[in-house]
């Protein structure tokens, strides 16, 4: 059995491997840009969920309910098929006539980032709510504005608490990029399907893509693990290992 990835495609001088790599490129670009947007919106909405102002809290809750409870594929269809129809005619036309990868990429990005943002927001809220009441009270006692309290006191601690759950959200956005194939983006899964259609080497085509997804998950895991260790507040983390060590050192063990 020869390796089909290193064969030339039927028309052209690329290798099938190039198709797969191009798919990986789009998957990666979509996931990373989507994550940056989702993270920013997620922090804003998550903080707003805990706001003492009722209006802001309700608006944030509404955002989460809408964007978390509609399946990603349906959201992509809304951005891809529905939005250009409900926009004013000239805008809608311009939106539809974007050059090809972008006509799929932009709706996919919008759908993925807003969906993930809703999920991140719920984690951020949980993180803020897990902090002791005293943190908020102390910030107020120091005369901090609400904005400063969130920026300097609550969020830095909450984000550290939720790093492990954010890891799985980040892995989630990488996996969800595959949904973009339904609106025509040739990302990793789509390229694997295309290679399968051209060569009938099902096992190799999907096997290669599966290995790439595994590697992506591994990279995300390693990155988040490093971030968690790097931004750890010494002495504050609940993990038992370092403390046990310190006790041991004191006793001269």
């Amino acid at each position: 059995m020869s390796l089909v990835l290193f064969e030339q495609v039927q028309e052209g001088d690329e290798l099938y491997l190039d198709w797969l790599l191009s798919g990986l490129g789009w998957t990666f670009t979509l996931a990373i840009t989507g994550w940056c947007i989702a993270f920013a919106i997620g922090i804003l909405v998550g903080s707003a969920r805990t706001s003492p102002h009722r209006g802001i809290a309700v608006a944030a809750r509404l955002y989460v309910e809408v964007f978390r409870n509609i399946p990603v594929i349906v959201q992509m269809f809304l951005w891809y098929f529905v939005l250009p129809e409900v926009l004013p005619a000239n805008l809608g036309d311009a939106y539809k006539k974007m050059p090809l990868p972008w006509a799929s990429f932009v709706p996919a990005l919008a759908a993925l980032s807003l969906y993930t943002a809703a999920r991140v927001a719920e984690q951020v809220r949980a993180g803020i709510e897990a902090l002791p009441q005293g943190q908020c009270a102390a910030a107020q006692a120091l005369g901090m504005s609400e904005l400063k309290m969130y920026r300097l006191v609550l969020l830095p601690q909450a984000l550290r608490i939720i790093t492990p759950t954010l890891t799985s959200e980040m892995m989630g956005i990488f996996k969800n990029t595959s949904v973009a194939l339904t609106i025509g983006l040739l990302e990793l899964t789509a390229q694997a399907r295309k290679i399968n259609e051209f060569t009938f080497q099902t096992f190799q085509a999907f096997g290669a893509a599966t290995v790439v997804y595994l590697l992506l998950a591994l990279v995300v895991y390693a990155l988040m693990h490093w971030l968690e260790a790097h931004y750890r507040t010494p002495g504050l983390e609940p993990s038992r290992a370092p403390r046990a060590k310190a006790v041991g050192a004191k006793q001269g063990v």
Binding site: E65, V66, R68, N69, I70, P71, V72, I73, V74, Q75, F77, L78, F81, V82, E85, V86, M171, K175, N176, T177, S178, V179, L181, T182, T189, A192, R193, N196, T202, F203, F206, A209, T210, Y213, L214, L216, A217
Partner: protein, 230 residues
């Protein structure tokens, strides 16, 4: 675009409801099958069964790292080949998209449920096992009567939340051209050129069902929490 005309939705209602029924069917099968299989996988890992435990662990990691659409494709294209090989048939044995969906969702969800249940197993205090031993319960009885009922009770909110995600994920059978809620809507949308009305309707239906379901999970969690550990 002309004015919105939702009569197209009303006319297609029976077709859409049939689609929704299939989505729910898929959710129920995926939930039931996934729960049984997932509990098995979790126990295998928890009890550190030789040979089986590392295999279960690899299976769970693999399933959780690749997208569901990819798994659907795997089973759609490979099951026929595997069946050909297993039954000695001379050509691939097609299983069709419906069976592909049922098998995929069961096997895929099993991996997610397994991790949830395993976390629950870890949280059971040692004293429970010791008490069972003191009562001379067999290992099977210990798990069936004491450990698993507690585990399922504590993790049920997370299991149900995962099941809501499963329900959302059933819409991905679109890639197999199946007629679930989304599939039904998209077929009508294309036939009648009424994409805006159909997709908006579908979005609202999914949102209402999932919102309601997650409210119910929150209520159940408050009501059925084990008091001492609430």
């Amino acid at each position: 675009m002309g004015p919105l005309d939702f009569s197209v939705v009303a006319n297609a209602l029976p077709f859409l409801l049939n689609g929704l029924l299939f989505s729910l069917e898929l959710t129920v099968i995926g939930f039931a099958g996934g729960l049984v299989l997932g509990t098995g996988l979790a126990l295998i890992r928890h009890l550190e069964v030789p040979i089986a435990a590392p295999i279960a662990s690899v299976y769970i990691t693999l399933m959780r790292s690749i997208p569901l659409i990819m798994v659907l494709f795997w089973f759609f294209f490979l099951m026929p080949l595997i069946l050909m090989w297993a039954t000695g048939a001379s050509r691939p044995v097609p299983i069709g998209p419906v069976w592909t969906a049922f098998i995929t969702f069961t096997l895929f969800e099993a991996a997610y449920y397994a991790e949830i249940i395993r976390a629950g197993l870890k949280a059971i205090p040692k004293g429970q096992y010791e008490a069972c031993k003191a009562l001379a319960m067999s290992s099977a009885k210990t798990y069936r009567l004491v450990i698993l009922p507690q585990v399922l009770r504590t993790v049920s909110p997370i299991l149900l939340t995962q099941t809501i995600i499963l329900f959302q994920d059933t819409s991905l059978v679109y890639v197999l051209s199946l007629t679930d809620l989304l599939g039904a809507a998209s077929k009508i949308a294309q036939r009648d050129a009424r994409l805006v009305e159909m997709y908006l309707t579908v979005a609202i239906v999914y949102m209402l069902i999932c919102s309601l379901a997650s409210q119910m999970v929150t209520m159940l969690r408050k009501r059925y929490a084990i008091p001492s550990r609430a």
